[in-house]
């Protein structure tokens, strides 16, 4: 299956891209995506367990993904 992975703010700067398409085995979880992301060039500047949202809601690392999901890595927020 295919998911879209989105990066923002300092994470997008570190990885050099705002998003990427990722091909995953069925049954893959958020943790599987994170493992792949943390192996990318520039990922050494990311924390070991970044916050993640799936389809616009915060999600646990154990969350099982589905075809077409939008997975977003959320840097520490600073709104307001």
């Amino acid at each position: 299956m295919t998911v879209t992975v989105c990066f923002f703010a300092s994470y997008a700067d570190s990885l050099g891209v705002p998003s990427m398409t990722m091909h995953l085995d069925e049954g893959s979880t958020v943790l599987d995506v994170m493992t792949r992301v943390l192996a990318l060039p520039g990922a050494s500047r990311l924390p070991p367990s970044p916050l993640v949202a799936v389809n616009l809601s915060y999600a646990e690392p154990t969350r099982v993904l589905a075809e077409g999901d939008e997975v977003a890595l959320i840097p520490p927020v600073a709104g307001g």
Binding site: A9, L56, A78
Partner: protein, 142 residues
């Protein structure tokens, strides 16, 4: 009840009109502004960005929670994105209710939750020409 991410100056007068109701006895407002100093560094401006659809959804949920917890029907939140200068308002939260306690509690709940949960980021521009992403964890927040 309404939330919006906007790219122009926040119009407080319009927001006040929006929550206005003859049954209101109390209106409570929070305005966040870009300040000239952060952690001892002179700030010239801030660039705000967001994961926009999620930020709008998250803020709408926060408003719904505040409405349920405090019984407040009139809440409007605007957060500005883009380049802001010192003194510019980055956020305005306006609540209206017959009683002051509910209006103030709802305002405070919205600002605290928004600062914790809404996927919005800021990059400060300093007088020395450098820029830095700022987080609630690494800086003491306004």
């Amino acid at each position: 009840m309404r939330t919006a991410l906007v790219r122009k100056p926040i119009d407080l007068t319009a927001l006040l009109a929006e929550v206005s109701d003859a049954s209101n006895g109390a209106t409570s407002i929070f305005i966040g502004t870009v300040r000239c100093l952060n952690d001892g560094k002179k700030v010239l401006g801030i660039e705000y960005s967001a994961y926009e659809p999620m930020a709008e959804k998250e803020i709408a949920e926060i408003i719904a929670e505040a409405s349920g917890m405090f019984g407040v029907q009139h809440i409007v939140v605007e957060h500005r994105l883009g380049e802001l200068a010192v003194g510019d308002a980055s956020i305005a939260i306006v609540t209206g209710h017959p009683r002051r306690a509910a209006a103030i509690d709802a305002m405070r709940y919205c600002v605290e939750e928004l600062k914790t949960r809404a996927p919005i980021w800021k990059r400060e521009h300093y007088a020395d020409g450098s820029r830095d992403w700022v987080s609630a964890v690494t800086s003491r927040e306004a």
